[in-house]
Amino acid sequence: MNRFIECAGVGKIFPGKTESVEALRGIDFVGEEGEFVCLLGRSGCGKSTLLMMMAGLETATSGQIAVAGQEIKGPSSDTAIVFQDHGLFPWMTVQKNVEFNMKARGVPAAERRAIASQFIEMTGLTGFGDRYPHELSGGMRQRVGIARALTTRPKALLMDEPFGALDAQTRGKLQDELLEIWEKQKTTVLFVTHSIDEALLLADRILVFSPRPGRIAADIKVDLPRPRTSQSADFSALARELRGLVGADREID
């Protein structure tokens, strides 16, 4: 087992005007290369904060984070991030949006275009390259967000509740597509969600967070055979177990 993603004693305190908030305490976790890890928990348990720290967009108050052997001190080219509210530039076409991360990295225009087209095709956006984000449905927009993140071939793909705002049907479709891409690209995925079902459908491993301060309450390996369905008995058993851990009576949604 390689130590591809490593969090050692990671803590985060947000200083406040009256009192500071401890968002995370003592996060220790080692992730393998190629693993699909879900960070599961209720809102406010620090799972997104941890993801932002892995992306280098937040700094840890204590402890260390390393991705692919590199300590994270700021945004790194080893990671790419997909946001829940997709973060597409409304004034850029789909094509330009997908090219942005490469442009920021100084990839020449012709190469950019070719790579973008490739990922536009992979994410099922062929024919939409000239559209603006507001002309697309929520699911399509998130496909653009995913395509953009993949263009720089990140070693770790960080996803912050990417399907949280989508309807159930679109969500299911995008989950399937994401798994397909993940199997093809063999990237490591860290996926924040507050849906137990989503975590069980996607993850090799689920980190269950508990709140105040955010900690990892459980680290669960999911051995269910793929493709998965929420109908199986094993799935239901695991879902029940997770519900107990998350501390919700039903689906936490």
Binding site: A55, G56, L57, P75, S77, T79, A80, I81, F83, D85, H86, G87, F89, P90, W91, M92, F100, N101, K103, A104, R105, Y132, H134, E135, T152
Partner: protein
């Protein structure tokens, strides 16, 4: 139906015209002071060159002045909106100076710059500067936070962030500023020409008062209003073109 609603905007103007005609018929004022519409219409034929020359002079001043405002305010506004320290440095000054009506600066402008285009254009520049500056800053501030995170995560350089993210994000707001600036500049030019310059529509109107040419005054007012309307429509049209990506994003396109 839509055509109809468009035409609705003409109704107040038509009513005003009728009221004018009635006032003339009833001889509320002597003809010398309040000329008949027909007499004013004649100005557009007989004094066409005068109108054209003066309108051109006024327009040239506004275009020059507002161009300077734009060149100064947009880059400055982007920098102030982007860097907190510049905001702290300039905020009070902006709030103070924008509250000063440009017209109140006319005496100083004449003392320092004399009579002519220099004081007029300077005042128009100032009239346009504040709305453009404030709206540019506002536009930069309004950028969605996620977009800046995307840029940071991609390690985009400062120049790319300015050109590809901050400028386009602020553009709709910059255009709002430009509309206000053009309006303010147009107000200022007419006033400035009444005092500081010997040409332009403002000068022509004031001259009309001195020579009892009330027909010329009213014709001048009509031209001023018409150009104001056209200038605003022009800025809106350019905005709609440049900010095409915004279509359907806002509840109404104003």
């Amino acid at each position: 139906m839509i055509q109809w609603r468009r035409a609705l905007g003409l109704l107040p103007l038509a009513l005003l015209f009728v009221a004018w005609e009635v006032a003339v018929e009833l001889k509320v004022y002597p003809q010398v002071l309040l000329p008949a519409p027909a007499k004013v219409a004649a100005v557009f034929v007989n004094d066409w060159d005068t109108l054209l020359d003066n309108a051109a002079a006024s327009l040239a001043r506004v275009v020059t002045g507002i161009s300077f405002s734009f060149i100064v305010a947009v880059p400055l506004g982007i920098l102030i909106g982007r860097y907190r320290i510049l905001d702290m440095l300039t905020d009070w000054s902006i709030q103070i100076f924008r509250s000063v009506p440009p017209i109140s600066l006319i005496p100083m402008a004449i003392l320092l710059l004399g009579i002519g285009d220099k004081p007029a254009v300077s005042l128009i520049f100032l009239s346009g500067l504040w709305p453009l500056l404030i709206n540019t800053i506002f536009g930069v501030r309004g950028i969605e936070r996620t977009l800046m995170k995307v840029a940071r995560a991609a390690r985009a350089g400062e120049f790319l962030v300015m050109r590809d993210i901050i400028l386009p994000a602020a553009l709709p707001s910059i255009f709002t500023g430009l509309r206000l600036a053009v309006g303010a500049g147009w107000l200022t030019v007419v006033t400035a020409e009444m005092i500081a310059v010997k040409s332009g529509l403002g000068y022509m109107i004031l001259n009309g008062q001195l020579t009892f040419r009330s027909d010329l005054i009213i014709a001048g007012i009509i031209v001023i209003g018409a150009i104001g309307l056209l200038a605003d429509q022009l800025v809106r049209a350019v905005r709609a073109r440049v900010c095409r990506w915004q279509e359907g994003l806002t509840a109404s396109n104003e």
